[in-house]
């Protein structure tokens, strides 16, 4: 970290020194023009932000640069030479590294194995030299302040550590040009600060970075220039210094965006969810939730704030029934549901927007229609004698796409072809349209653009108006502050602080999130 404070003021790249230039890049998918003659350039030492709505084509154009997709037109130049990048290997050879929006890590491998995969150090006898690999990783990790445990399996690592491992992987491969696709979507604020410090030290060392994010304050804070992509086209590129969040939002969406929705005061009804002395363990058998109690009333939004890895995932899964609890009770409208299976809990009115959309929320190889069916398959509405009422289902899927503005050429494409944000919208649409009495919303706006966030926040507030109880689990303190009627801070599986949404003090919450309390703080 200290390297940053001593470094000279940022120069932000030299306009004459172009490392990468994309000219008229086009990319088509069946029924979709993902990139329409995109022009972009990257200066040496620059951080170039890409901003655009969900499905605008940001990931696609970067995948083209990384050699994952062959372009359907256009030219790529690296260091002034026109190149054809046919595979990630070719990109790596040109010094282009990428950190993907959806992590490309192998869950059952350790972090060090993931980092060296494809470019493994060898012993004299040709065996895998994990000792040397670990040494190199630790060195990189120390040099850039990205703390990871090399021997931890990815599936046991927190999302933040996985993110750092992804970045280290790109650095290990010797990237000179780094593509970061929404690297902060899953990081806690403190981790974002650390990452930004790292990024600055990288550009000071001569790296050039494409940085994709939906968070406008990050664009302002970190980038030198920003390009706005709309419907597959770069509509403009300009210096970040001369802009504001509001202006960015406007340029991106093409209309005024309300960055913070207002909620109206109203009274809370009967308790819908009552959690009594609930305990649970994580998948290693260690205590993850430690005897917590709280209630969520009808028409109330209770926000769970906290740093990732303090029991949020287990809380979500235990209440929904995906994981067994080890003690205590869960009451839904007075009925003990803690021994019921997931199907019964859904029948009783629990909806879930899971934290991990690709593992829990969607079947990526199913089309949108089938994904809309998930969790509804037992309901009379969707069934016919001896089967599923597909025409009704298709109609429902169509309405979901319409209402939630999901960008897709049709409802019959696989969910895997949707952009990250649109996958999230699909889950939201399914869960909200089912009409739950209790909605568990974990990171409901992860990866959404500002316009979509506004939309989802309005949806949640509308549910609240209609008496739905909402448990909002979020690592975005801003989100919790703007939506929640009551805020619980989760720290090491226990409730460290409970405050009403109206008189919540940001500092106090921030302190509780990291284990400090009012008494000793």
């Amino acid at each position: 970290m200290q390297a940053i404070s001593e470094s000279p003021p940022r120069v932000g790249g030299d306009a004459g020194d172009i490392v990468v230039r994309l000219t008229e890049i086009s990319k088509f998918f069946p029924g979709v023009v993902a990139n329409d003659r995109v022009n972009l350039d990257l200066r040496r030492g620059e951080i170039h932000a890409l901003l655009g709505e969900n499905g605008a084509g940001k990931t696609t154009v970067m995948n083209v640069l990384y050699g994952l997709y062959g372009p359907d037109g256009g030219v790529i130049e690296v260091e002034g030479h026109s190149v054809r990048i046919k595979s990630p290997n070719a990109a790596l050879a040109l010094g282009i590294g990428m950190v993907h929006q959806h992590f490309m890590l192998i869950p059952r491998f350790t972090i060090v194995e993931n980092v060296v995969l494809g470019h493994e150090p060898r012993t004299r006898f040709g065996a895998l030299d994990l000792f040397e690999a670990r040494r190199k990783l630790v060195e990189l990790s120390e040099r850039f302040g990205l703390a990871v445990d090399p021997d931890r399996r990815v599936e046991d690592a927190s999302v933040g550590m996985q993110q750092r491992a992804e970045i280290l992987k790109a650095l290990y491969l010797g990237a000179k040009v780094l593509i970061l696709d929404e690297p902060t979507a899953a990081l806690a604020p403190q981790e974002v600060d650390d990452l930004f410090a790292t990024i600055r030290s990288l550009t000071d060392g001569g790296l050039s970075i494409f940085f994709i994010t939906h968070k406008l304050e990050e664009v302002i804070e970190i980038s030198d220039r920003v390009s706005v992509i709309r419907a597959g086209r770069v509509v403009e590129t300009f210096d970040t210094a001369r802009t504001t969040k509001e202006e960015l939002a406007h340029r991106m969406v093409g209309r005024e965006v309300v960055l913070r929705v207002e909620k109206t005061a109203h009274t809370v009804g009967e308790p819908v969810l009552e959690v009594e002395n609930l305990s649970a363990t994580d998948h290693r058998g260690l205590t993850a939730i430690d005897g917590i109690s709280f209630t969520v009333g009808a028409g109330e939004i209770v926000g769970i704030a906290g740093v990732d890895g303090n029991g949020q995932r287990e809380l979500e899964e235990v209440i929904f029934g995906l994981q067994k609890h080890t003690g205590g009770r869960i009451l839904l409208l007075g009925e003990d549901v803690s021994r019921l299976d997931v199907r019964k809990r859904i029948d009783r009115g629990i909806g879930l927007i899971p934290q991990d959309r690709q593992r829990r929320g969607l079947v990526l190889d199913f089309d949108l229609v089938e994904n809309v069916l998930l969790g509804n398959q037992w309901r009379a509405l969707y069934s016919r004698p001896l089967g599923i009422d597909y025409s009704y289902l298709r109609e429902q899927a169509g309405e979901a796409v319409e209402e939630f503005d999901i960008k897709t050429p049709s409802v019959e494409v696989d969910a895997s072809t949707l952009s990250g944000g649109n996958q999230q919208k699909l889950i939201l649409a399914r869960e909200i349209r089912r009409g739950p009495k209790l909605l568990l919303a974990a990171q409901p706006t992860r990866g959404l653009d500002v316009g979509a966030i506004e939309f989802v926040h309005r949806q949640l507030l509308e549910l609240r108006e209609h008496g739905v109880a909402i448990l909002l689990i979020s690592y975005e303190l801003e989100e919790v502050l703007s939506l929640a009627d009551r805020i619980l801070v989760l720290y090491e599986g226990a409730i460290a602080l409970e405050v009403s949404g109206d008189d919540a003090v940001r500092e106090e919450i921030g302190l509780a999130m990291t284990g400090g309390s009012r008494r000793n703080g």
Binding site: L68, Y69, M98, I106, P107, F109, L117, G118
Partner: protein
């Protein structure tokens, strides 16, 4: 029937080194095919074609050994080695078909495997008749004799069990240990496992998913072919129609019980070989034959259910990979 007598006989069998020698012998074709299966499935390609590959190996082994001796004028001791080479090569060529179908054309891997099994059965049967003019089996061919290892084979008990075998039995042991090393201690092994777990992640760091999957499929071809050669050049000295009799499927199970590892595959094959060997020897006891025939399977299930936890298959197994 006198229980005390039965007990005594069983005890004698358990104390007799030849029980264990037979165990090693019987387990060899299973182990080789199972290890091949482990390599293939670790890269994400389901291989139910092991049965067919073994059959092709057994046939080619006999065929090449026969021609080496009778047409190419090679000696009795060299001919079976030519048979082994032929078996391995043909096994690889045959399994390359699996690669084309399931890796390149992205067909359903189980369907491709099933089709190859049927094809192998028909083709080897037909060629036996066409080339040798007799249905059902080839003539006798030059085969391997046991090669006792000097000194070591004289060790009491262990000597006959471990050091008095035909060449492919020794090879199986080396391949089990070497295979384990390759899969878990070398870069290529890491890549193979990566491709079977998360091909897209491997692709994004420049590991060619197709190439690695072909490699896995070809290794299973080579080892399956070798397993077949063990049947036609060591167990007996000829090829007969459908001589594998389901061993490929048992090997597949051994690979799964062995948690998709070479060493595990070998150990579960040994267990199966042990049960088979008991079956052969306990036939002297006056028990219902159905009971004795059941023995290997029951023993396998009991030991495996008790001794091993749940096996977790490679994550991307059976899923064809396409780039976009």
């Amino acid at each position: 029937m006198d229980l005390g007598h039965v007990f005594q006989v069983v005890l004698d069998i358990l104390r007799d080194p030849s029980t264990y020698q037979a165990m090693l012998r019987i387990s060899t074709p299973l182990a080789l095919a199972a290890i091949g299966g482990a390599f293939c499935e670790r890269t994400g390609v389901v291989n139910i074609a092991l049965e067919g590959i073994m059959l092709v190996g057994a046939f080619s082994g006999a065929l090449f050994s026969y021609y080496a001796l009778n047409s190419w004028g090679l000696s009795e001791s060299v001919a079976p080695w030519i048979g082994v080479l032929g078996a391995v090569t043909m096994g690889m060529l045959f399994s390359a078909l699996h690669g084309v179908g399931s890796v390149h054309l992205r067909a359903d891997q189980v369907v491709v495997g099933a089709a190859l099994n049927i094809f192998a059965l028909g083709a080897t049967g037909f060629l036996t008749q066409a080339l040798f003019g007799v249905a059902g089996a080839t003539p006798r061919v030059a085969s391997f004799d046991p090669i006792p290892i000097p000194l070591l084979s004289k060790i009491p008990f262990l000597g006959p069990v471990l050091f008095d075998h035909t060449p492919i039995v020794y090879m199986a042991i080396v391949i089990a240990i070497g295979g384990q090393y390759v899969l878990f201690r070398t870069p290529i092994g890491l890549r193979m496992r990566a491709v079977g777990e998360h091909p897209k992640a491997a692709d994004t760091v420049g590991v060619s998913v197709y190439r690695i999957r072909y490699l896995g499929v070809l290794i299973s071809g080579a080892l399956g072919g070798l397993a077949g050669a063990n049947l036609s050049l060591e167990s007996v000295s000829q090829f007969s129609e459908n001589m594998t009799r389901g061993r490929g499927f048992i090997a597949l199970a051994a690979n799964i019980f062995g948690k998709w590892t070479p060493l595990g595959s070998w150990l579960s094959s040994l267990l199966f070989g042990f049960a088979e060997s008991l079956k052969l020897r306990t036939q002297v006891i006056d028990l219902p034959p159905e009971f004795i025939l059941m023995l290997p399977y029951v023993l396998t299930i009991v030991v495996l259910a008790g001794a091993m936890g749940r096996a977790v298959p490679p994550n991307a197994i059976g899923k064809p990979y396409s780039k976009q």
